[in-house]
Amino acid sequence: MRTIIFLLQKEFRQIRRNKTILPIIFVMPIIQLLILVHATTFEIKNVKLCVVDQDMSNTSQRLVHRLEGSSFFKITANTFSFDEAQQQLATNKADMIVNIPSGFSNDLIKENHATVQLIPNAINANFATLAYSYASNVIFDFNKSILTEWAGNISPQPLKTITTQARFWYNPEMNYKWFMFPGIMVILITMIGMFLSGLNLVREKEIGTSEQLNVTPMQKYQFIIGKLLPFLIIGIFELFLATLLGKLIYGVPLVGSIWVLVAFTFIYLLVVLGIGLFISTMAETQQQMMFIAFFVVIVFILLSGIFTPMESMPIWVQKFNTINPLSYFMRVIRMVMLKGSGFSDLIAEFISLSIYAAAILSLATWRYRKTA
């Protein structure tokens, strides 16, 4: 125990004097949470529309106004030529073409049926789908309003329609930032844990001090605790800092208990630090360490369901996620923050992460050798 205290004192003295790590601990969370949350939002606004109104009727004009009136769309071009509209799409001046064919109004009155063509730029399929469905909604609403209008002209009773009313639980305002924020927090804690611990260990190898420590009677477990504990403390600190920033900047609620969050962060950090330690036993230089850690982190992040719902991934990818600690932690942190899930709701995740932590730490400790 005394040895560990001496080691901790040493680590914190070094961190305090380190002109790179200290700013990273404070600045990285602020930058990531301020910028990345906005960068990863899937909300779309100001979709640039190019309108080809070949009908030029009162009805078609009203539809165009409807689209313009919605906050999602901005009409950047009006043309009569479909070729020109295509040009607009090709040069990225427009995101979607709204093509209203001539006879639109007539068809609607005579045939009770008319067609509007929507051509979104689908290079970003996600964006195109959203833009398309927003526009469809607007057109559907428009359809309904002219229907009631015309029906009203014929019969005195308004048309009976069934409307659905959606209520979005846990994130009632459908605020995308609330969804993304916990995700960015997870990335932050992962990076701090894995990179700082791993780099620290490899650095000692590089400068030769690890060999000096190896000739001392210090036990392996003392060394490893001395190395992991400082970053565990920093990681927990980052959690508090991030939660506070989330509340202040985005008003992200913390519905659940902070202590549940702390308990899970603690176990999760053990996993991440264990991975960092494990990688450091394979790396001889800091470059190697960085390279391997980057690879691991990126795979874990993209698979974790932070950006895309895990349910829509192929089954084998979902299976792979059982060995992805990020996906557990991501689920937990979102559930606790937004849904207020308590410990009893998260037993399965707790057990999985604990087993993970025990396994990776044993593996890393076993790989870490005092002798060559």
Binding site: I207, E211, Q212, N214, V215, P217, T371
Partner: protein, 255 residues
């Protein structure tokens, strides 16, 4: 120095270390006695560092019977580590810690109390006349000072044996001389000193020296007796005669 069986601090019989098919240490045999300054000489790549790392418990021998401070290198490495100090070839104090912080760390690891560390640090620093550097970062000190500090840190916990791996590499002659004064003082305190070097003038300062060539020990005796046996004026000539007999031959022919 007292050459008696009960005073053996390091005992080595038929030490062999192989890396694949390469034999780094080929049946080494020697003993080191208590309070002795034992010089381990050899050209670069002769296998000195390999042997020293085995004695420190940093590496396992392939075969041989070896005890250090009375403990077996196969089974009792942790006990050996409690009783030795080590100064590696590569400078290895923490550059971003101060002098006293480095001493606190290593002293703490060896189980010394904070009070004891302070006393011993004061004593060693005053011996080095470096009390004023207590709170100075290692990074800002000149190399010679760092080496002397590294030595002081290696003997901070008063080990029975201290291993020095080319401790004076890259250091100016005056500092080297001062460094050897420190070694003498440590030996005087009763610490056995095991030192590798390839400076032959330093070999003269040792009680006994071995000369390693290609993984073998080709000579082992006091500097005086070695010079006598090889009819050499100094250790430099002894070394050349032992390590490069052919080279010596050509010089003789030219004469």
């Amino acid at each position: 120095m007292n050459i008696k069986k009960e005073n053996i601090e390091i005992y080595v019989r038929n030490l062999v270390k192989k890396f694949g098919s390469f034999v780094a240490n080929d049946h080494l045999n020697f003993e080191v006695y208590k309070g002795e300054i034992f010089g381990f000489l050899g050209a670069n790549g002769a296998g000195k560092t390999t042997a020293m790392r085995i004695l420190c418990g940093l590496s396992h021998p392939t075969s041989g019977e070896i005890t250090v401070a009375g403990y077996d290198v196969y089974k009792q490495t942790e006990l050996i580590k409690k009783n030795i100090g080590y100064m590696s070839q590569k400078f290895s104090l923490y550059e971003d810690l101060t002098v006293i912080e480095n001493m606190e760390l290593y002293g703490g690891i060896y189980g010394m109390s904070r009070k004891h560390i302070r006393e011993r640090a004061g004593e060693l620093l005053s011996r080095l006349q470096m009390e004023h550097t207590r709170k100075v970062l290692i990074a800002s000190l000149p190399l010679g000072w760092k080496q002397k500090l590294a030595f002081s840190v290696a003997i901070l916990h008063q080990p029975r044996i201290v291993f020095l791996d080319e401790p004076t590499g890259g250091v100016d002659p005056i500092t080297r001389r001062q460094f050897w004064d420190l070694i003498y003082e440590a030996a005087h305190e009763g610490i056995t000193v095991f030192v590798t070097t390839h400076y032959m003038d330093e070999a003269e300062y040792c009680d006994r020296v071995t000369i390693m060539v290609d993984g073998r020990i080709d000579a082992l005796d006091t500097p005086g007796l070695l010079k006598e046996r090889y009819q050499a004026a100094n250790m430099n000539d002894v070394f050349i005669k032992v390590a490069r007999p052919d080279f010596q031959l050509t010089i003789n022919n030219e004469q």
